[in-house]
Amino acid sequence: TMPAEMASQLESSLLNCPDSLDADTPHLHHNTLSLPHPTSIFFPNET
């Protein structure tokens, strides 16, 4: 049987599980293609 402490650490690991964003390639220096600009609220606001 899994010891209680191990089980709760495993649960905690599950809660913090890295996702695909965490695994993505780092880009420290962001070359901005253009300046921020207020655009229509109907445009998608997530890349």
């Binding site: 709760s8 599950l14 599980c17 890295p18 965490d22």
Partner: protein, 511 residues
């Protein structure tokens, strides 16, 4: 203090990377200045700097607004490690030792953090560190380090690359779930990382395979330890789902890895994971066309690929221990005394708990039995290649009689595990599948006196359990079971132990 100066240098590095692209000349200049000014000129300084950089990275992650960029320092640290590996002239310490030292320090800090924080430990910055390290290495090493102008350094780095991945793999082995359960999900994500797993699978000369098998067995051992039959903790169930997807991806991309390492993988796979077992055993070498196993006119002896024996990456002879000599001697010159030695030495010292379908303990050394069975199969295929098929497709050959005597002299438990080990070799059409198909069919039809029914039932059970699962099903299992169903010498449906169980009778009738 020295530590404060280390913090300062690292902070400057982080800021620099946000202002210029990673391949800007100023980055190289910074590294050169670090080296020239002796920031890392001693082992002690290296240790202190690594600790400082990691503590800053993890600290900055913990303190950052979760919706912002939380990994800036961590990513910068990864980039620093790769730059140090690539830009330095390694005279005193070699690259491997250098990398091992840094990762050892990281491991210590990781372990301390985990110990201190307990359930509040957050695996993400450590995950990110290794993930980014892999990405950065990939970035610099593309096309055999073509970004490095100097030919000498380029070839040095190319030589180092398998070592790089194997060092990462060694440390992942240290971080395995049984040791650090609070890192389990990050760990599984790392061993299947797109910049790690395919690289390890495809290193020249299979240089990454040993460590990969080690990591997969770490995963399987963890699952085996904590999978109870009817009460699987939710988190373990999630682990299983992830493992299944990873194995399916490996079966797609590199089936040869599963084909050649099935023996070691199955040694640690819990018996209750019947579908996963089938996934591993159903792997077929790329570009091999196999005939339809349900074709009523199929004859296994006519299948061309049965001429070829599958590669076995890890030689099971290493696991025979004290039985190596008796087994090899018997295969050359059969004798009943050798058989007795073998049959009496397949047991464990003590009972062990196990999660089987229908059993809770195991007193037989299943790893040893698996080794004996596979070793005999390997030797039989070699014999066929050296001499003729008649040498092994022969119930009087020592290859056959060795396995037959294990059945004859064994308890039901021994018989069961021997038959299971044989069934594990009934895979895609190859020389092992063909020979073990012959062996199992003959075992089924042979006269074992009072034990005939028991042995037949064990064989039917073993084959059936691999067919009633959801797909995939192994080609060799389907073909063998079909052969038994079609056999004019014995009608399975008339066997008492089949007729006794209507559900089983129904399934067999349908098949």
């Amino acid at each position: 203090t020295n530590q404060e100066r280390m913090f300062l240098v690292f902070t400057e590095w982080v800021k620099l990377l946000q202002r210029v692209p990673g391949d800007d000349v100023k980055v190289t200049v910074f590294i050169r200045q670090m080296i020239d000014k002796g920031v890392l000129n001693t082992t002690d300084n290296m240790i202190q700097f690594t600790k400082a950089a990691l503590e800053l990275s993890v600290g900055s992650f913990k303190e950052s607004d979760p919706t912002s960029e939380v990994f800036i320092a961590t990513d910068a640290f990864s980039k620093l490690i790769v730059n140090l590996l690539v830009l330095q002239d390694f005279a005193g310490m070699n690259r491997s030792e250098y990398l091992r030292l840094m990762i050892s320090v990281i491991t210590m800090v990781f372990s301390e953090d985990q110990g201190r924080m307990g359930n509040s430990f957050n695996e993400r910055p450590y995950f990110r560190l290794i993930s980014s390290l892999l990405c950065e290495w990939e970035n610099i090493s593309g096309h055999n380090f073509v970004k490095i102008q100097d030919q000498y350094y380029r070839s040095q780095l190319n030589e180092f690359t398998p070592e790089f991945y194997n060092i990462i793999a060694s440390f992942l082995h240290v971080y395995q779930p049984i040791a650090f359960p609070g890192f389990s999900f990050a760990w599984i994500t790392l061993i299947s990382h797109r910049m790690f797993l395919p690289k390890m699978l495809r290193l020249p000369e299979k240089a990454g395979w040993s460590k990969l098998v080690l990591l997969f067995t770490d995963l399987l051992k963890f699952m085996a330890q904590y999978t109870k039959k009817n009460d699987v903790p939710d988190a373990v169930s999630v682990v299983y789902k992830g493992a299944l997807r990873v194995f399916l991806a490996v079966a797609n991309d590199s089936p040869d890895f599963l084909v050649e390492n099935h023996y070691e993988l199955l040694n640690h796979l819990p018996h209750v994971y019947m579908q996963l077992r089938n996934v591993i055993l159903s792997a077929i070498p790329k570009d091999l066309a196999i005939p339809n196993p349900y074709d009523p006119n199929l004859r296994i002896d006519g299948v061309e690929s049965c001429q070829d024996a599958p590669n076995v990456f890890y030689d099971p002879v290493q696991d025979l221990k004290s039985l190596k000599k008796p087994v090899d001697n018997y295969l050359r010159i059969p004798s009943t005394s050798l058989l007795r030695v073998i049959s009496t030495n397949v047991f464990k010292q003590e009972f062990q708990k196990d999660n089987g379908i229908g059993y809770d303990t195991v007193s037989v050394d299943t790893k040893l039995i698996n080794a004996i069975v596979l070793h005999v199969g390997v030797e039989a295929a070699l014999e066929k290649h050296k001499t003729t098929a008649n040498a092994i497709f022969n119930t009087k050959s020592s290859y056959y009689t060795l396995l037959a005597s294990l059945l004859n002299d064994g308890t039901a438990e021994v018989r069961f595990h021997v038959v299971q080990a044989i069934a594990n070799q009934l895979r895609y059409p190859n020389a092992h599948t063909q020979w073990f198909n012959y062996v199992l069919k003959n075992f089924f039809l042979e006269d074992w006196d009072a034990d005939t029914a028991e042995i037949q039932e064990i064989i039917i059970r073993t084959l059936l359990e691999r067919i009633v699962t959801n797909k995939p099903h192994c080609w060799g299992i389907i073909v063998t079971f079909t052969d038994l169903l079609k056999s004019p010498e014995c009608s399975i449906l008339t066997l008492p132990f089949v007729m006794d169980i209507p559900e089983v009778e129904m399934i067999i009738k349908n098949l």
